[in-house]
Each structure stands twice: as structure tokens, then as C-alpha cells.
């Protein structure tokens, strides 16, 4: 058995077979063991805050080289779930497996650098690991942010900040890249470029990717799996099929199925993708909050 962190918490074993009335036909089979070939694997995670089940019996695996996208409404527990997977927060119950061979590069949701902290991009990237200046320059070039190297972090645009954060994650030589709403605060074109970059990094560095999508209606076409979260796992599937689930329509409203756009990879012209990139539909129930 490979070495690694395995957490097994059970305050009340009776909850392990909790069901949530999912009618999408992809019910939870909590008897499934941890996937020990995965980069990170979770079974029956529960987290209760102020009497509310923020995370309710979630199973999640990310395997090497696969892109897993989490979607769900605001307050669905997407960020909390990712924090549990990373070990930033601890579940009340459940099993978590993260082998020592898993090296995580994390790109957090918000990164508003306090203007009180003077910090150049170069200094930020060297902080906390032993990257040489040539490694830093090469990694910045890899993410398309080489021109920011001498700029102050607080002066970067939203897209530049995300690229610098991805560069920092890559400098840790990860095999799992975790991104929490990487396209937040980035315009429509910038969002497509970022998803393009993440797809290329997956291919060139054989990364597993766990991605929270900031927008219900747009998911990355290269996702191997899209998992729809609302405390529990509502449904999951290929990006082009997840919107067909009845549970998806119930959660996001009848218009959402039509509104789910899928970003095409720039160099990917396969014809099995049904969605095309288009702006958020005005009829969609969950608009991006201003």
C-alpha cells in the first residue's frame, strides 16, 4: 500500500448510508472503497456548520491527468469541499486519502493583495520555495505572464493575477492543480484563454485538475467530468451531458439546461460537443453577481 495521509473520521457511523432523494439515477454508493490510484480520494465527507450540513456525504476522486469541474449554486459548498480535499479544513466525518506522492498546486478563489504589502511578482514567486530566477522566468512565460515579473502584485489585472498564481502553483512541481474559480473577475475572452491554458498545462505536464467553475452556465469543454454540487453530489457526467440530468434542471431551473455553454478548446474541433461558447443567457436563473 502506498504511503499517504488517510483520515477516517466517524462520529456516527449510522449516517454513512444517507440518501438525498436524487432522481438523476446516479445515487451514492457509499460502499465504494477509497480509490487508492487517485491523486486525492474522498468518501462520505460530512461537514456541519451552525447546524447545517455544508457538505453532506460527498464522494470525490481526482485521478492523474483528468480534469474534474465542480459546479453548483452559491453556498453549495464548492469551496469548502475543495478546502477539505486540500486539508485546509477538516471534515466531521468521512474518509480522505491523499498519498504522499500527490503534490498540490493551489490557486485560491480571491487574491486581493493588501496594498500595505509591497511585493513584486518575482519576490512572490520565490517566497517559500527554492525556485531559481530562471525557473521563475520560464514558468511565467509558460503561463503567458512574463511581462509582469517586476510589477507589484497589487497592480496586476484580474487575468494577470490568476496567471501569476498558476505560475506559483506550478513552481511547486505539482501533479494535482486545484483552482477555485480561476476565471472570476476575468472578462469573457480572458476566461476562454485561461481555460485554454489550463487544458494545455494538463496535457504538457500530465496534471490532474480539480476546478471550481465560477459560472453555472459555462464549463470547460476539456473537463473529463463535471460534478454538480449542492451540499451533496446532485449529478455528474461529461460536460455535454450533465445539463440533461433531471437533477440539474431541478437545481438550476428549467432554463439552465439551454443556458449551459461549453468552452471549446481553441485547437479542438471534435464534433461531439454540443455546446458552443456564448454569453450568459439573460433568462438564466443564477446570474453572475455584480
Amino acid at each position: 500500500m502506498p504511503e499517504g495521509l488517510e483520515t477516517s473520521l466517524s462520529k456516527s457511523a449510522g449516517h454513512n448510508h444517507h440518501h438525498h432523494g436524487d432522481d438523476c439515477g446516479c445515487g451514492h454508493t457509499h460502499a465504494l472503497p477509497l480509490d487508492r490510484s487517485a491523486l486525492v480520494s474522498a468518501r462520505s465527507l460530512w461537514l456541519t456548520r451552525s447546524g447545517r450540513d455544508v457538505i453532506a456525504g460527498v464522494d470525490l476522486d481526482v485521478r492523474p491527468g483528468e480534469i474534474v469541474t465542480l459546479i453548483g449554486p452559491n453556498g453549495a459548498g464548492k469551496t469548502t469541499l475543495v478546502k477539505l480535499m486540500l486539508g485546509i479544513e477538516w471534515p466531521d466525518r468521512g474518509q480522505l486519502w491523499r498519498p504522499d506522492t500527490t503534490r498540490i498546486g493551489y490557486v485560491p478563489q480571491r487574491f486581493d493583495v493588501d496594498r500595505a504589502i509591497p511585493m513584486t511578482v518575482a519576490r512572490f514567486l520565490s517566497l517559500g520555495h527554492d525556485a531559481t530566477s530562471s525557473e521563475i522566468a520560464a514558468t511565467l512565460a509558460e503561463v503567458g505572464a512574463e511581462r509582469t515579473i517586476h510589477q507589484q502584485l497589487s497592480q496586476l489585472s484580474g487575468g494577470e493575477t490568476q496567471r501569476v498564481l498558476i505560475a506559483r502553483a506550478l513552481l511547486r512541481k505539482p501533479n494535482l492543480l486545484v483552482l477555485d474559480e480561476p476565471a472570476r473577475g476575468v472578462d469573457y475572452v480572458g476566461e476562454a484563454d485561461l481555460y485554454d491554458l489550463i487544458g494545455r498545462l494538463r496535457d504538457s505536464r500530465r496534471l490532474g485538475v480539480l476546478l471550481i467553475s465560477h459560472d453555472l452556465h459555462v464549463v470547460m469543454a476539456k473537463s473529463d467530468r463535471v460534478i454538480c454540487i449542492n451540499g451533496h453530489v446532485c449529478c455528474s457526467g461529461k460536460p455535454e451531458t450533465v445539463a440533461q440530468h433531471a437533477e440539474y434542471a431541478r437545481l438550476f431551473g428549467p432554463h439552465a439546461a439551454q443556458a449551459l455553454g461549453v468552452y471549446l478548446h481553441h485547437h479542438d474541433h471534435s464534433h461531439d460537443i454540443t455546446g458552443v461558447p456564448h454569453p450568459v443567457n439573460a433568462a438564466a436563473p443564477d446570474q453572475r453577481s455584480p
Partner: protein
């Protein structure tokens, strides 16, 4: 003709410069983490240490350090709960400590005791024993600050990112609170409890507009604080003004000039 200054002036200068260098990097972290109010609360709690020292008849510096560290521990404990906002806890502790300290000192020593010396410090009363405290304690605090510098810097930038990268946020924060308490307790002698946080914060504020990296900000802040100590002592000697407030006034002048000069350049 150059005249050697009086020994009490030399001691005041050495004490001020020693503290200026130790306090500068801590002050930067206080500014980054927006902990000014935490510092004020620790400073007011030092007055309880004075009362404790008078009551038990023990070394006042030791008693003050003990009280400040105890207050830091109370704050660390309160930081773990979510019932009360930290700001409310600070608002309570800060005023309770000041009021209790003043009442306790008055009861113990009668109303004749000179509170001004504790509230505003007396830099010209620094003894050789105080200097040993400042330089030995200061070296320890500076060493610990250098060790904690990177984790604290990363936590200041982004707590979740630092935690995901393997830093223990609670441990680093607790260690910093205790360092801050010790520094405040020792610096109180010079600038007094009401102005001690200025000694930490004002040089950092002055350094921010001209610094491009965090380390440069700390070094520039140490320089600003040193110039402020020299300028303040000269002002005090020439005008017979109290030493601690004169030093803080000099530091504030440098900060205002720094902010105005860089504000004009960028605006």
C-alpha cells in the same frame, strides 16, 4: 567644539535605537495584518503589569512582560472562538485593562504616584539594567522575527494559500502575538503605553510608499525609526519636551512627508 553628551542621553539614544531596529519588522507585520488594535490592547494590558509589580514588589519589567504575554494568550484563546468578533473582545479588554490598571495603581500606591511616566514613558530615565533588557530581549525577538518572517509574510498575503502550502496558521499567529507582547512591554519604558504602538506602526507607514519588497520595507522602517529617535531626542533636549512623545512626533513628521511626497508623484 564637540562635547560628549551626558550619560543619560547616551543611554536614551542606545535604548531608542535598539528598539527602533527590533520594532521595525514587527511593525510592518502589524500593518500588513491590520493588527494595530491588537497591539493597543496588549499595550494597555502592560499597565496591569505595573500594578502587579508594585503589588508583589517584583521587577517591573518582568511583571510588565508577564502581563502583556498573558494578555496575548487571552487574545489567542479568544481567536479560536466564533461567538464574539475579535474587535468586540479587543474593545472590552483594551478599556478594562487601562481602567483596572489605573485604579489598581492608585489603590496600591495612593494618588500621588506619577502615572505620566507609565502613560508616556521616560526615555531619559533608562538605566543600564534597562539597556541589558532591551539588547538581550531585543536580540531574541529579532531572531524569532527572522525565523517567523516567511510564514508570517505568506499568511499576510493569503491565509488559505499559505495553509494549503503547509504553514500552520494558528501556531505562527500565536508566536507572533507573543513576540509583539514582549516588544511592547519592553518598549513601554521609552514611549509609554499610550504611544508605544506608534513606535511600531508609524515607521512602517512611512516606509511603505518607498519600498518595493517586504524586506526593504522593514529595513527602511528601521531607518525611519532611528532617524525619528535621534530627531526626537534632539528636539526634547533643546525644548525640554518629554522624550517619548518627541520621538513619536519626529517619526510622524517623516511619515507625513513620505506620504505627501509619494502622493504628489503618483497623483
Amino acid at each position: 567644539m564637540f562635547e560628549w553628551p551626558e550619560p543619560f542621553v547616551v543611554r536614551a539614544l542606545l535604548a531608542g535605537l535598539g528598539l527602533a531596529i527590533v520594532a521595525a519588522p514587527l511593525g510592518c507585520i502589524v500593518v500588513w495584518r491590520r493588527m494595530a488594535y491588537v497591539g493597543e490592547t496588549l499595550a494597555q494590558s502592560s499597565l496591569l503589569g505595573v500594578a502587579l509589580g508594585l503589588a508583589l514588589n517584583i521587577d517591573l519589567t518582568l511583571a510588565v512582560i508577564f502581563a502583556a504575554v498573558a494578555a496575548a494568550c487571552v487574545l489567542i484563546a479568544f481567536g479560536q472562538q466564533k461567538l464574539l468578533a475579535l474587535d468586540s473582545v479587543l474593545g472590552l479588554m483594551h478599556h478594562a485593562a487601562l481602567a483596572l490598571g489605573i485604579v489598581a495603581i492608585a489603590v496600591l500606591k495612593g494618588p500621588s504616584i506619577d502615572l505620566m511616566g507609565y502613560l508616556f514613558g521616560d526615555v531619559f530615565a533608562v538605566t543600564s539594567g534597562d539597556l541589558i533588557w532591551i539588547y538581550c530581549g531585543g536580540a531574541l525577538v529579532l531572531g524569532a522575527t527572522i525565523m517567523l518572517w516567511r510564514p508570517l509574510l505568506r499568511l499576510s498575503l493569503h491565509e488559505d494559500l499559505a495553509t494549503a502550502e503547509g504553514i500552520n496558521p494558528r501556531l505562527s499567529r500565536a508566536a507572533f502575538d507573543i513576540l509583539l507582547a514582549v516588544t511592547i512591554a519592553v518598549a513601554m519604558k521609552i514611549v509609554g503605553i499610550l504611544l508605544v504602538m506608534a513606535f511600531l506602526i508609524v515607521p512602517a507607514v512611512a516606509a511603505r510608499p518607498v519600498a518595493s519588497t517586504p524586506e526593504r520595507m522593514a529595513v527602511i522602517a528601521a531607518g525611519v525609526a532611528s532617524v525619528g529617535v535621534i530627531g526626537g531626542l534632539l528636539l526634547s533636549l533643546h525644548t525640554d519636551s518629554p522624550g517619548g512623545p518627541s520621538i513619536v512626533l519626529a517619526m510622524c513628521l517623516i511619515a507625513i512627508i513620505s506620504l505627501l511626497a509619494t502622493g504628489r508623484r503618483s497623483g
